[in-house]
């Protein structure tokens, strides 16, 4: 009998995980849409998810490496053999007392993701599949006002009042990595009289819709904001009532002293924004009923923590915390624990950055996950022995691709790989898979169960959402969560006593008076619909050690980093003669960065419906200076890498910058491998190999790179 119905579930074409509906006709997914109960939007990546689901290149059986790592040669094996290989190696590791040398790079879909539970049971650590994105933002907010540590806490644009200022600094929210309803909400806010200010060295779609585009020198954001803060305090334009009540005693005076020489004129020399514009933006922010700030690429530079600190200070002195249109301070849904839970090992004692020869350098490292960018170094040091990766593509996403490849192929005197086992779960062929020992076919969001309740979901459109299978799995694909639960049942039955993933989620949901069945009956969402504002007034405190806003980061006083430096990242301050261009690796809505499932999606790499090219972009002024013609194939070279790629001239980029989209360069999969495009991480240095130059306070922000370009 013919059947067609819309089923609520969750998208996973990117990490935003928007709530969606899927139309399933006779067992086949035909269409997808945003779920109207959760603001009802879905972006182009999500729409193309059906192509990921049905691509003939789907991985359908577990694969075991037969050649050397990097050759990409495999033979099909059964699931039992695959499980035996993982169990044997992990048991051996634990027996050696080296459980902490196991790391799983993943994107946890909840704070109690079953994969994370498995890692804890082994005694290992996770590093996120979003290795370097915005941990500096997380840590800066956490240090300053105790914001719950999570990733994409975008400002809630639907709450921005008339006259509110929305600042995007190196941020591409129209790319929908927070939620597909963000573009619509920003445009609506503009229609009701909010102002959009875009600070970016590249004129992109957000800039085209902005009231004001401010081209900035990359890495100059901290200087710009410190100049603004200087002007606001000097003129007494700050929110005095808010600061008097909530800022730790003495911090405002210390801030004023620190800012004394950070004049707009002085800061202008660093960020290349005219001093008059710094003053204008400062006065705009001080007078506005709300200010929101969001950044992404800019927070990934070597001065990310300084920029995050300066940005946090501006939010505080203008009183823009947890107010409509300001910086939200989200809370997490109080799920019930599944007991007994394996205790997490202490990242301050163990973990690959803590147990190797460089451990002393990490004394001030306070991010709560392993620094992904240190993985290659850890393999070289022998402190990372077993590595699992799900929903990420480190071969392309790790900075210093060359060093990463060197590390994963390093052998000991006996001829064995130093990284003893490398397991990848994937949906479609990925660059990382080429280097893996074991490749496990994973399921798309259309085939699997998942409970999602991370607090980063933009605007709390869904506080908890259930991803449910809407069609039968393709081939022998198994969801990584289920694989880790099954492995957990073999190895740690006490921690995996529940029946399966669905029962695990059911127990958790009892914490909010829900069950999987109740949620599914309610449209696969649980969302009380309130975010609440100024919640610190209810509790009388911020989530910091002092309970107040801490502008000065006293824990870094001994290393002289208690206040933000206005300077550009170190890499941008030197070698300008040898490498005249600053590399700006930007993002696009059409691809989930290095994600193999979007790079190998024919609709997303189609020139009409996606993006199929990635030339290095230069301002025509620079092109002319170099004697290049538009379309020439050029050599782009950094201190650590070199690529050949076509060049395109465009007025949209600031002179002195060279732009390239992050995420290309895959050689696996016939869609992803199209064209002569390259990965930006071929040019970016491996941060682990030059630790002395890194800010090791917790921001994983080290992508700053200079390049030279020649024919």
């Amino acid at each position: 009998m013919h059947e067609s119905k819309w089923i609520p579930t969750v998208c996973y074409q990117c990490k935003a995980e928007c709530a969606i509906l899927a139309r399933v006709e006779d067992g086949v997914v035909k269409e997808v849409r945003g779920n109207p109960r959760a603001r009802g939007k879905m972006c182009v990546k999500g729409m193309a998810g059906i192509t990921t689901l049905y691509s003939q290149e789907r991985l359908k059986k577990p694969l075991l490496r037969v050649g050397e790592r990097g050759e990409g040669k495999f033979r099909e094996i059964g699931w039992d053999e695959a499980m035996d290989i993982m169990e044997k190696k992990l048991r051996e590791l634990i027996k050696r007392g080296e459980g902490h040398k196991f790391t799983y790079s993943m994107f946890p879909h909840s704070t109690t993701d079953p994969k994370w539970r498995f890692v804890n049971a082994v005694g290992g650590f996770i590093s996120t599949g979003l290795p370097h994105c915005d941990s500096a933002k997380i840590m800066a907010h956490l240090h300053t006002f105790g914001c719950f540590p999570n990733h994409h806490i975008a400002p809630m644009y639907f709450t921005v009042p008339k006259g509110g200022v929305m600042i995007l600094a190196g941020r591409h929210p129209f790319g929908c990595l927070d939620d597909a309803c963000v573009p619509h909400d920003i445009l609506n806010a503009k229609e009701r009289g909010a102002k959009l200010v875009v600070i970016d060295p590249i004129f992109r779609v957000e800039a085209s819709k902005a009231d004001w585009w401010i081209p900035i020198k990359p890495g100059g954001d901290a200087a710009l904001f410190l100049g603004m803060c200087h002007h606001i305090l000097k003129k007494g334009l700050h929110d005095k009532a808010f600061c008097d009540k909530w800022v730790r005693e003495g911090d405002m005076d210390k801030l004023a002293a620190f800012l004394k020489d950070k004049t707009p004129e002085a800061m202008s020399k660093i960020c290349e924004v005219p001093a008059a514009d710094i003053v204008k933006l400062a006065e705009m922010c001080a007078a506005a009923p709300s200010v929101s700030v969001d950044a992404f690429k800019s927070i990934m530079y070597g001065n990310g923590m300084d920029w995050g600190h300066a940005w946090s200070i501006l939010l505080v002195i203008t009183g823009n915390l947890d107010n409509p249109g300001g910086q939200p301070l989200p809370e997490i849904a109080p799920m019930a624990p599944v007991k007994p839970a394996p205790p997490a090992p202490d990242l301050k004692e163990l973990g690959y950055h803590r147990s190797g020869p460089n451990r002393a350098k990490f004394d001030h490292y306070t991010f709560f996950l392993e620094p992904t960018w240190y993985a290659a170094q850890a393999i070289k040091d022998g402190t990372l022995k077993v590595f699992f990766a799900s929903e990420c593509n480190p071969a392309l996403s790790e900075m210093g691709s060359g060093e990463w490849r060197k590390a994963v192929t390093m052998k000991d005197k006996k001829g064995d790989y130093v990284l003893e086992l490398f397991v990848v779960t994937e949906i479609l062929p990925s660059e990382t898979m080429k280097w893996a020992d074991l490749v496990l076919p994973d399921q798309t969001n259309f085939e699997r169960w998942e409970l999602l309740y991370m607090p980063w979901w933009y605007n709390f459109g869904h506080t908890a959402a259930v991803c449910q299978p809407v069609v039968k799995p393709i081939g022998e694909a198994r969801h990584a969560n289920r694989v880790m639960i099954d492995l957990g049942k073999r190895m740690f039955p006490e921690y995996f006593a529940f029946k399966d993933d669905v029962e695990y989620y059911d127990i958790e949901l009892s914490g909010v008076g829900m069950s999987m069945q109740k949620i599914l009956e309610g449209g696969a969402l649980w969302s009380p619909g309130t975010v609440g504002f100024r919640k610190y007034e209810d509790t009388g405190k911020f989530n910091t050690p002092s309970g107040k806003i801490e502008l000065e980061w006293r824990m870094f006083k001994d290393i002289g980093q208690n206040w933000p430096s206005p300077e550009l990242p170190l890499e941008f301050r030197r070698d300008a003669d040898k490498f005249p261009f600053i590399l700006v690796n930007y993002r696009t809505i059409f691809l989930n960065n290095t994600g193999a499932w979007s790079q190998n999606n024919a609709q997303l790499r189609d020139p009409v419906s996606g993006l199929d090219e990635n030339p290095v972009i230069l301002n025509p002024v620079d092109g002319k200076k170099l004697g290049l013609a538009d379309g020439d194939t050029v050599t782009v070279e950094s201190a650590t890498g070199k690529v050949r790629v076509p060049v395109r001239f465009t007025e949209r980029i600031k002179p002195g910058c060279a732009g390239i989209i992050h995420g290309f360069g895959q050689t696996m999969g016939k869609v992803a491998a199209r064209g002569d495009w390259v990965g930006d991480n071929e040019l970016i240095a491996d941060a682990g190999s030059h630790l002395d130059e890194q800010d090791l306070r917790g921001g994983e922000a080290h992508v700053s790179t200079r390049v030279r370009i020649s024919k």
Binding site: K30, E31, K41, C43, V44, F203, K209, P215, F590, E651
Partner: protein
């Protein structure tokens, strides 16, 4: 005059191409298993124009689909009488059973929006989701538009809405049934 239309608001279009993929999915234009980039039919495309020189720049994005012309050249060009402008809605439709695959309509279309199915030899294009709009639904592209840049309805009423919002019709883009507006 009876004429249904889509109004494209250039103040809101962000060129995200969500409409293109949603349209393809709905109309079954993609073989998800085998299609390769550059080989798939599409009833819409995104165009954009960057103007000015650094740092004074402006950029517009818009979508182009069948304009459901007032006097469609494709109708005149079709040797088999397969194309007609629907009297009730003003939608230009190609009758698949009558189309012989001559390709003449494709040559004559000033907007280059007519697609050709080489395997089954027939021309096809946007029909404003005729089968949906008959039952009170919106065309797929309008329903899914990420930026709410598209609106659907009687052309005259859309013009009234544009005027009320202080938006002007950009005649340079089209003088046919699809409206392009901007503040």
């Amino acid at each position: 005059m009876k004429q249904l239309s889509i109004m494209v608001d250039l103040d809101r279009c962000i060129g995200c191409k969500t409409c293109i993929v949603a349209c393809r999915n709905n109309h079954g234009l993609v073989d998800h298993e085998k299609s390769m980039p550059g080989e798939m039919s599409h009833y819409l495309r995104v165009e954009s124009e960057l103007s000015g020189t650094y740092p004074k720049l402006a950029e517009d994005f818009w979508v182009v689909m069948c304009q459901h012309c007032k006097k469609p050249p494709c109708i005149k060009a079709c040797p088999s009488g397969a194309i007609a402008k629907d009297v009730q809605t003003g939608i230009v439709r190609i009758a698949r059973d009558k189309c012989t695959g001559s390709g003449k309509c494709i040559e004559k279309c000033p907007y280059k929006v007519i697609q050709f199915d080489a395997a089954a030899k027939f021309a096809h294009k946007c029909d404003l989701c005729y089968d949906r709009i008959l039952h009170g639904e919106q065309p797929v592209c309008v329903e899914v538009c990420l930026a709410d840049a598209l609106s659907f309805g009687e052309r005259e009423i859309l013009l009234m809405h544009a005027e009320a919002k202080g938006k002007k019709v950009i005649k340079k883009k089209s003088t046919q049934s699809i409206l392009y507006v901007k503040s």
